[in-house]
C-alpha cells in the first residue's frame, strides 16, 4: 500500500484531510508498524505544540513600556522649538543683512559717497541693544541644549532602572 506523504499526514493532523486519506491512514495504522511509529511521533509533536505555553516578559515590562511611552510623548514639543530656532536665527540674520544693504543703497550719495552712508548707518545702530538681544538668544539656545542633554540622561536612567 502507498504510504502517506508528510503533507498528507499534516493535513490529517490539522483535520483538513479528505476521506480517502483517512481510510488509507486507518489501513496503514493497522498494518504498518513503521508508519504507526512515524505517525505517532508527528502526532505527539503536533499535540505538544498545541499546548506549548506562552512565555511571559519580566514583571517590570508593563511599567517600563508605559513610562517610556509617556516620556516619548512629553518630549515631542521640545524638538519642534529646537528645530525652528536655527531657522529663526538665520532668517533674522538674513533680514538684517538685506535691510543693511537696502538702507545703504538708498542713502543719498550727495557729496561724501556711499561709504559715508554706511558709516552713518553703523553709527546709528545701538550696539548695546544688539549685544543684549544676542545674549538672550544664546542663553535660550544654551538652556534648550542643556535640557535636551539632561532629558536624554534621565530617559536612559529610566530605561536602565
Amino acid at each position: 500500500m502507498k504510504l502517506l506523504t508528510d503533507d498528507e499526514i499534516f493535513d490529517l493532523l490539522d483535520g483538513i484531510a479528505p476521506t480517502e486519506i483517512h481510510q488509507r491512514h486507518q489501513q496503514l495504522m493497522a498494518l504498518d508498524e513503521n508508519y504507526r511509529q512515524y505517525f505517532n511521533e508527528l502526532r505527539e509533536l503536533h499535540e505538544s505544540l498545541a499546548v506549548l505555553p506562552l512565555e511571559s516578559p519580566s514583571l517590570a515590562f508593563e511599567n517600563k513600556l508605559l513610562t517610556k511611552w509617556e516620556t516619548d510623548q512629553s518630549s515631542y514639543k521640545i524638538p519642534f522649538l529646537l528645530q525652528i530656532l536655527p531657522f529663526l536665527f538665520v532668517s533674522l540674520l538674513a533680514l538684517v543683512l538685506v535691510g543693511t544693504f537696502v538702507f545703504w543703497r538708498l542713502q543719498p550719495s550727495n557729496n561724501s559717497g556711499a561709504g559715508n552712508g554706511f558709516e552713518d548707518l553703523l553709527n546709528s545702530i545701538d550696539l548695546k541693544m544688539i549685544q543684549r538681544l544676542l545674549l538672550c538668544i544664546n542663553s535660550l539656545l544654551l538652556l534648550l541644549i542643556f535640557e535636551r542633554i539632561l532629558k536624554k540622561r534621565w530617559k536612559r536612567q529610566l530605561e536602565e532602572a
Binding site: F10, L54, P57, F61
Partner: protein, 188 residues
C-alpha cells in the same frame, strides 16, 4: 464580546485620551508579543526590547489603524518585523544559546516533569529553525491563526505558508529526533 471588538473598544478609549487604556492593551497582548519575539531571538532581554519597540510603534500608529481590520493581525505584523530587525542586529558571532532552564518545583508530579522536559526540548528545537518558520509555527499553534492571517502577518502567500508550515514541522521533528538520540547517547 468578540476578542477583536474588545481590542477596538480599547483603541477607542485611547483615542478619546484615556491613558489607562494603553495599559489594558499591553496587558492583553504582552505575552504573545513577547513569545513571538523570544522564539525568534532566543534571548529574553532582546525579546523584551523587541516587544517594547513593537508596542511603541503600534501606539504611535494607532491613529492610522483601520478599525475594520483585525487588530492582532496588524499588531503581530509589527511584532514580527520588530523581532526580525532585532535578529538582523544580533552579531553572527554571538550565538545565543540561552539555557531554557526548567522551573522545577517540589510539588511537580512525574507527569508534570515529563511535560516540562518535553516543552524544554521543543523550545530548544524551535531555536534551530529560521525566524519565518518559528513565527509560522507560533502563530499557527498559539493563537490558532488561519493560514490567510499568517500570510498577512508575515507578508508571505498563504500557499507558501502552508508548504513552509509542513516543512517546519518536519524539520522540528527531525531536530527533536537528533536531540533525543544525543540525550540517549549521553546516558551511556
Amino acid at each position: 464580546m468578540n476578542e477583536n471588538l474588545k481590542d477596538i473598544a480599547i483603541i477607542e478609549r485611547i483615542k478619546t485620551g484615556d491613558k489607562s487604556a494603553y495599559r489594558d492593551l499591553v496587558h492583553r497582548h504582552k505575552d504573545f508579543a513577547f513569545t513571538v519575539a523570544y522564539r525568534i531571538l532566543n534571548h529574553r532581554e532582546e525579546a523584551e526590547e523587541a516587544a517594547q519597540d513593537a508596542f511603541m510603534q503600534a501606539f504611535a500608529a494607532l491613529k492610522d489603524f483601520n478599525q475594520t481590520a483585525k487588530f492582532t493581525t496588524w499588531f503581530y505584523r509589527i511584532v514580527f518585523n520588530a523581532a526580525l530587525c532585532a535578529k538582523r542586529r544580533q552579531k553572527p558571532t554571538e550565538t545565543i544559546t540561552e539555557n531554557h532552564a526548567l522551573a522545577y518545583s517540589v510539588m511537580d508530579t512525574t507527569q508534570n516533569l515529563q511535560k516540562k522536559e518535553r516543552f524544554a526540548q521543543i523550545q530548544r528545537a524551535l531555536a534551530q529553525l529560521s525566524p519565518d518558520d518559528v513565527t509560522i509555527i507560533t502563530l499557527f499553534y498559539l493563537k490558532e491563526h488561519s493560514l490567510d492571517e499568517i500570510a498577512d502577518i508575515t507578508a508571505i502567500s498563504s500557499e507558501t505558508i502552508k508548504v513552509k508550515l509542513h516543512r517546519a514541522r518536519k524539520r522540528l521533528a527531525e531536530v527533536l529526533r537528533i536531540q533525543l538520540g544525543a540525550e540517549v547517547k549521553n546516558l551511556y
